[in-house]
């Protein structure tokens, strides 16, 4: 039985940063899983990802979102990134939790991902599920996680990229 679900890279920020990058991602796995627990440097923060330094309108995404009082759905197509959450809610003191499952990232078809956002803040916050698409047939070898420029990821933010291998 092959070894699977291995850490590829991990980072814990010691100072605030606007971007977290995973580069030189090996193409030897089947799927990728990104796990991010984010704090914001000054205020509520938003986050999104791009692949292989492609900041052009080659992405699209659809979400389901609950904010504690209503549920909604949005579609953005085309987009210049894949949102981890439509409106993220990490703050300076309460982390938000995000995941992204990126399927067949090294294959020669367009790349689909499922992202989750879990950001309850004891009386506010939201929960989301997104499906995202990158219309590119290249293998993904780099992932950049950006903030929405309102604030940076704060010290203590952790991000880990795992590789999942099929049998």
């Amino acid at each position: 039985m092959p070894v699977t679900y291995q850490r590829i890279a991990s980072t814990t920020l010691s100072t605030s940063a606007a971007t977290i990058t995973f580069s030189s991602i090996p193409n030897t796995y089947t799927d990728l899983r990104l796990v991010l627990t984010a704090l914001a440097s000054t205020s509520t923060i938003g986050g999104y990802i791009i692949y292989n330094n492609d900041a052009n309108a080659n992405y699209s995404w659809t979400n389901l979102r609950g904010n504690g009082s209503s549920a909604s759905s949005s579609v953005i197509a085309p987009a210049t990134q894949i949102n981890l959450a439509f409106l993220s809610n990490a703050t300076t003191s309460i982390p938000a939790f995000y995941t992204a499952d990126i399927f067949s990232y090294a294959g020669s078809t367009f790349k689909t991902c499922l992202t989750t956002a879990s950001a309850d803040q004891n009386g506010s916050g939201m929960v989301e599920r997104h499906v995202g698409l990158w219309r590119n047939t290249s293998a993904i070898n780099r992932i950049d996680i950006y903030t929405n420029a309102v604030a940076n990821f704060a010290s203590g933010t952790t991000a880990t990229l795992y590789g999942i291998l099929r049998a």
Binding site: S10, G68, F97, V127, G156, T158, T160
Partner: protein
Amino acid sequence: MSTTYIPIQSTTLSSNQASVTFSGIPQTYTDLVLRASTRLSGSAVEGLLGIQLNGAAINISNTYFQSQYSTGTVNSGRDAAATNAVIGYSNDGGSTSNTFTIVELYIPNYAVTTANKPFSSATALENNAAQARGFYAALLAQSNNAITSLTITRITGGANFVSGSTFHLYGISNA
């Protein structure tokens, strides 16, 4: 390169039981994942599932959205902080025989002592009848203490998890 996603503890009920506790959770992993398959022993179609952390010593709040076959709607709500917090719904004894609910919890950075802990839950209940529900929640453990024990409870519905319910706790390491 090290392997991760390691089984920590596992329980398959051989008789009905009111709750399942994983205690003495080692502090050597980065994240915890709980996967369970549950059914309750009452007469309703479904019952609410709960979670207690560190012997119900931690307040937990949530924000959720859910899809319900019975109403044909998707809605969102929020529960105030409680020590037995809602994580979703389980098949109860009034649902179609042999149907069990899928439960997944993901708790990142559970051993960290410098911040509150956000985590996620998802439960999926399909009944081949006039009740089904998908439930997705963001939860917040309002304590900086490390999580050392975890209990899955029923809040409403039958008094017990039935024999055959399974609960598996895994540790994920980023080392």
